[in-house]
Structures are given as C-alpha cells and as structure tokens.
C-alpha cells in the first residue's frame, strides 16, 4: 500500500479518479458510453476528443520542460499553422478534395516545425533564456497569423478537414487517435532508446552532461522542434473543430494549461526527470475539470478561478515546506526524500 501511495503517479491518478467519481455521483449519465452507428458517444468520449489539442501541446511541453526550458509560443504556433492550412484550402479550387487538405495540413505542420526549429535555434545555439526566446514568437506569431488570414476569420467547409476533429476511426474519435499515436511514438522514442535519459541528463545538469559527451545542443533543439510540430498538429485539430482559422482565439492560454498539465502530472519545472504518463493524466484532469465546471453551471469565463485554486493546491502539495509541515503533524520524522534545497530555506 505504501509503495502505491509513494508512486509518483499516485496523486495525479487519484485526483483524476476522484473527479470522475464525483461527476458520476452528481450525474450518473457522466460515466455512460453508448454505441451508435459504430461510434462511441458520452461525456467521457467528449473529454477524450476535446483533450486532443492540449494533449499534443502538453506532450511537446513535457520534453521542453525536461530540458529545463519552456515554450510559451505554442498557442501562437497553433494559430499560425491553422491559418496557413485553412488559407491554402480556402484559396484552392477544390476545397473538398482529400489531396488538397492533406497538402494544406502538411504545409501548416511544416511551418510549425520551422517555428519550433527557430525557437530551438535561439535557445540551444544562441543560449537565450527559453522564456524570452519563445516570448518573441509568442508576441510575433499571432501577428503573423493575422496577416496570413488578412485579419479575418477564414471559414472553410471541407469534408476531409472536418473529419480531423469530428470524424471517427474504429469507434474512437479521430482526434483522440492522433493524440494517442503522438503519445505512443514519443514515449517509444524517449523510453525505448537512450534519448529520454539523455534529455533528463541535459535538464538535470547541462554543463555536466555536455562534459560527459552528451550532445545537449541537438537534444534541446530537437525538443523545441517536437513541441512546435505537435503544436502545429494541435492547431489543425482546433481549426478543424471550429471549421475556421481564428488567429486571435486559436490556442489562447493553451501554453498555460499545457504547463499546468505537465506540472500536475509530476514533472518539475526545474527540468530533468519527466513523465509522459503523468502529463497524459494531467491533461485528462484539466479536461475533466473543465467539463465539471461546465456541468456546475459556472460560466466558462469564470472557470479560471477554479484553475487558480487547482494550481495553488497542486503547487502547495508539491512544496517541500508543506511536506515538512505535514510530517511535523503526523509525527513521522523519518523520510526517504530529501525535502528541499538548502539554499531555498527561508531565514526566520
């Protein structure tokens, strides 16, 4: 039992299960999944479907955070990728053809990849602080997206594009399939090769890992490229869902939710050890929470208050000082974990 409780995924999974239980008690329909015409329906399925963009973005964010970085530009990259893809479809003579849509999606994601490489270049090659390096694109990106769409909201009606967000593949929503595929591929690359360990080494001590022969520059660059590309895919899903490219609203605040998901999952913002499974759980917690807030009848505009409360609770749970207090209360003096960096201790 103790080992289960001490597992680093225990609290995230516990929170998710608790949320689902509370929802089910409040409205039994929540847990129900029905099959209609070979497609699954239900509140849980909606959560999975709607979580896809955040899942992709948070996945890339996990890698970037593992290298001690942060990528603030993901929302702007989403806007750019959606704008590029939908403008191409809108300008083409046959917006309904699968070839056009595939080419447009490739172009959008390609641009996103380049933007990610740009971030990586600034951070890994020019050694600029990640927060500032990605802030450049966060500011400029939305402007670029607005220029691409001429400041309008480009609406597109194209069947293959709509399929991305609302279609089904083998009973499950296609968007969720994309997210699962991305998680699987990244997890295999990170955990079945040495890449994950090297990424953690770079995050824990960049200088030491460089001296040990790790090519940290390439690893950091790669993390930003992955983050940019995944944000690009997320942008396509978002645009497909609203059937329009909205340069202002696409991916608004998603960088913050993605960072929150990563932290909820148990990856420290200090870099180093990361957990992809934790991020997945973190994303599902956020999405379930959003659905819960909606169910409670709180207007979605007010939902940030709940998220503020969640952020504060989570960071307090992770805080060494609170751990110390809790140990003091329960009277358990011994502890296997080292509570805090000594330099972070506060003088009286």
């Amino acid at each position: 039992m103790r080992r289960i409780v001490q597992h680093r995924l225990f609290w995230p999974v516990f929170s998710l299960v608790a949320l689902i239980v509370v929802n089910t008690v409040a409205r039994p329909r929540f847990i129900k999944i029905t099959v209609r015409d070979g497609e699954l329906y239900g509140a849980l399925i909606d959560i999975l479907r709607n979580s896809a963009p955040l899942m992709l973005v948070a996945l890339g964010m996990t890698l970037v955070i593992a290298t001690r970085g942060i990528d603030l530009s993901v929302g702007a990259v989403m806007a750019v990728s959606g704008a590029v893809a939908l403008t191409i479809i809108d300008d083409s003579s046959s917006p309904g053809s699968t070839t056009t849509v595939l080419a447009a999606i490739a172009a959008g994601v390609g641009v996103a990849l380049l933007l990610g490489a740009w971030n990586g270049f600034l951070v890994a090659v020019l050694n600029i602080q990640p927060i500032i390096a990605t802030l450049v694109l966060m500011l400029a990106g939305r402007g670029v997206a607005l220029l691409i769409t001429d400041g309008f909201i480009t609406t597109v009606n194209s069947h293959p594009l709509n399929y991305v967000a609302s279609g089904y593949l083998l009973f499950v929503p296609f968007a969720f399939v994309i997210a699962v595929a991305a998680v699987t591929v990244i997890a295999l690359f990170e955990r079945r090769t040495a890449l994950g360990m090297l990424t953690e080494a770079v995050g824990i001590n960049p200088e030491a890992s460089r001296l040990a022969g790790v090519r940290s520059r390439g690893i950091i660059l790669g993390a930003y490229v992955v983050s940019g590309t995944l944000a690009g895919v997320a942008g396509i899903i978002y645009s497909s869902n609203i059937r329009a490219a909205d340069a202002n609203a696409a991916g608004e605040l998603i960088e913050l939710y993605a960072i929150l998901a990563v932290v909820l999952g148990g990856t420290s913002l200090m870099g180093g050890k990361f957990t992809i499974a934790g991020t997945v759980v973190g994303v599902l917690i956020i999405q379930t929470l959003k659905s819960t807030i909606l169910f409670l009848g709180v207007s979605s505009a007010e939902s940030p208050v709940f998220f503020a409360a969640v952020v504060i609770i989570v960071v307090l749970i992770q805080s060494p000082r609170v751990h110390g207090l809790a140990r003091g209360l329960t009277g358990r003096g011994r502890s296997s974990e080292v509570p805090a960096r000594t330099d972070a201790e506060v003088p009286a």
Binding site: I70, L122, L126, N127, I128, Q129, I131, I132, A133, L135, V136, L137, M138, L139, A140, G141, R142, G143, V144, L146, L147, G151, A247, E252, L256, I259, L260, V263, L269, M270, S299, A301, E302, S303, P304, V305, F306, F307, A308, A309, V311, I312, V315, L316, S319, P320, R321, V322, A340, D343, A344, V346, P347
Partner: protein
C-alpha cells in the same frame, strides 16, 4: 619636457577613464540603446510623415500608454529580483471592472480607489508568499495569480460597465495645458509612479536589496539582507501598480471590461526588456522601462499613422525584443569574459 610626457599620458588616462566608465556602466548600455532607438524612431517618423513630432502627438503618447508605464514600473522591480509577474494584465482587468462596478453601485471614488489598489496588493501578496515561503517558481505562482484575477474579473461582471463617476472621468478628461502640450492626471500619476519606482530603486535600502537579491540571492542572504521580505514586497508593489493601472485604464476607456489586458503582461515584459532590464535579474532601471514603453507606444502610433494592420505592432515588438536580447547577451558574455 614634463608637459611632453604628461600630454600623451593625460590622453591615455582620459581614454582609460572612458573605457573603465563604459566597463562599469556596461549595464547602462541597453537602456541607452533603447533611448537612441526611441529618438531615431521619432526622427524617422517625423521625416516620413512630416507631422509626427507635434506636441499633441507626443502628449498623447504618455496619455495612451499611462497604464503600461505604471505596469512596467512594478514589473521592473519584480524582474530585477530575478522573478516574473504574469498576473499584471489580469489584475488590471479585475481591478478595472471592480472599480467600474463599485462606482456603478453608487460607492464613492474615495472608497473605491484605495480598495482596488488593496485588491491588487492582496493578489501580489498571494504570489509573493507562494514564491518565497512555498518555493513555487515565480512563473507558476504568478500564473495562479493570472487565472485567479481573470476569473474574478468575470465573476464581477461578464460584460463591460460604463463609468459615469465624475471624479474618475476627471482623471482622463482634465488637460493641463502648456502651450500646445498637455498632460492629464493619469499621465501625472504614471510619471509619479515611475519617479517613486526610480527613487526607491536608486536611493533606498529596499532598492539596493532588490539589486542584491537579483544579483545573487544566496550572497544577499549571507550578507544579512532581508531577502524574504524584499521578495514578497516586490510582488505586492507590482500588484498595487496593476491595481492602479486598472483605475487608469478604466478612466481612459470610460468603462470597465473583463477582457481587458489579455496579453498585456507580455507587452509589459517586452517593454521592460527593451528598456534594458536583464531577465536574469540584478540589473535594470525604471527609467529604461519607461523608455521601453514609449518605444512600444511610438511603434503603435507609427503603424496607425501608416494605416497598416495593428498586428504589425506585435511582430515588430517581437523582432525588437529579439534584437535587444541579442545585445544583452553580447554584453553579458563580454562582462563574464572580462572577469
């Protein structure tokens, strides 16, 4: 003969003095560069448009950006300690809409204004306590503040509320004229906040502690400086600035609106960085941040003069930010190499 010897050495001494002045003041260079760019922007716009550097236009620069100046002053103190405050835009929206709501409910401005500044201070206190006592990263702690304030803004009202209170509108409509120049009470407030910020940073013990904490927190603590108190106080100060900015923005737009200030924190951070403050902490000037805001405001005005899309503002600010962090990088690397 002695003069023959003295003359070259005097020249060398002068050159040496200039060099050592530049070395010691290397961190002033980005601020100076921002000032040069500001002047060049003004001159360039004047040459291009012919009617840009008019007293009316330059007065409007302060009026239009008063709230940004106030936010930038608070942000400068936070960034110099090595922190960051993402919450300012949301706090401004919250205090702005709260101000409009309370005034609409018939409360007097004398009660409402201190209350909203207190509101900003409380959110700042929350962030500061999370950062200092619970060891939460400033980014995440102020993110919580951002969510909280934005949500509270919508709790207060989902739509905009007009302000009809005369004393608040007075802040905006009064124009003290000096020939063709004018200044509004909001402009005076902005300059006053900047002056207080600059004075505190340069001449008080609190200000010196801010630089020390940002330079090296560990050393500052070992020197016996009050690190904990200082770090909490800068977030409270930033929150109060955001509260005041909410009042100024409400007066400026004549209404409170809960969607105000989305992304403003980024504009403010950009202005502060352009003004020469190092994001790693330990160096920066309030005056620089004010110049940074003016650079931002000038670019915005130029773009509206050109009749171009306002989306260009952020693209240009983004590029400018890039140039400035490049310059800062070079300065820091050179300073390290010299050591």
């Amino acid at each position: 003969m002695s003069t023959g010897l003295a003359t070259p050495s005097r020249g060398a001494v002068a050159a040496q003095q200039v060099r050592s002045f530049l070395d010691r003041r290397a961190l002033l260079m980005p601020t100076f560069a921002a000032f040069v760019i500001f002047v060049l922007l003004l001159i360039g716009a004047q040459v291009h448009f012919g009617n840009f550097m008019t007293p009316l236009n330059l007065s409007a620069l302060l009026l239009d950006n008063a709230y940004l100046v106030i936010l930038a002053v608070g942000m400068t103190l936070v960034i110099v300690t090595g922190g960051i405050d993402l919450s300012v835009g949301s706090v401004m929206a919250f205090t702005g809409i709260l101000c409009a709501r309370l005034l609409a409910d018939g409360h007097s401005a004398a009660l409402v204004v201190p209350l909203i500044i207190l509101g900003g201070a409380v959110i700042g206190l929350l962030i500061g306590v999370l950062v200092q006592y619970f060891d939460v990263q400033p980014f995440i702690a102020s993110l919580a503040g951002l969510f909280l304030a934005r949500g509270l803004a919508f709790v207060v009202s989902l739509s905009s509320i007009r302000v009809e209170n005369e004393s608040v509108l007075w802040l905006q409509t009064t124009r003290y004229r000096f020939g063709e120049w004018y200044i509004t009470p909001t402009g005076i407030m902005a300059l006053l906040v900047a002056a207080i910020g600059a004075f505190v940073m340069a001449y008080t013990r609190f200000g010196r502690t801010i630089y020390a904490v940002g330079g090296n927190e560990q050393s500052a603590r070992l020197m016996g400086l009050k690190v904990a108190r200082t770090k909490v106080l800068v977030y409270i100060f930033s929150g109060m600035c955001a509260g005041l900015a909410g009042l100024v923005l409400t007066a400026y737009s004549g209404a409170g609106y809960p969607r105000n200030g989305i992304g403003t924190e980024l504009d403010v951070i950009a202005a502060v960085v352009i003004g020469g403050t190092l994001l790693t902490g330990g160096a920066g000037y309030v005056v620089g941040s004010v110049i940074g805001v003016f650079v931002y405001g000038t670019i915005k005005t130029v773009i509206s003069f050109m009749g171009a899309e306002q989306s260009w503002t952020r693209i240009i600010i983004g590029l400018m930010l890039l140039v400035f962090i490049g310059v800062q990088r070079i300065i820091v690397v050179r300073a390290e190499r010299r050591r």
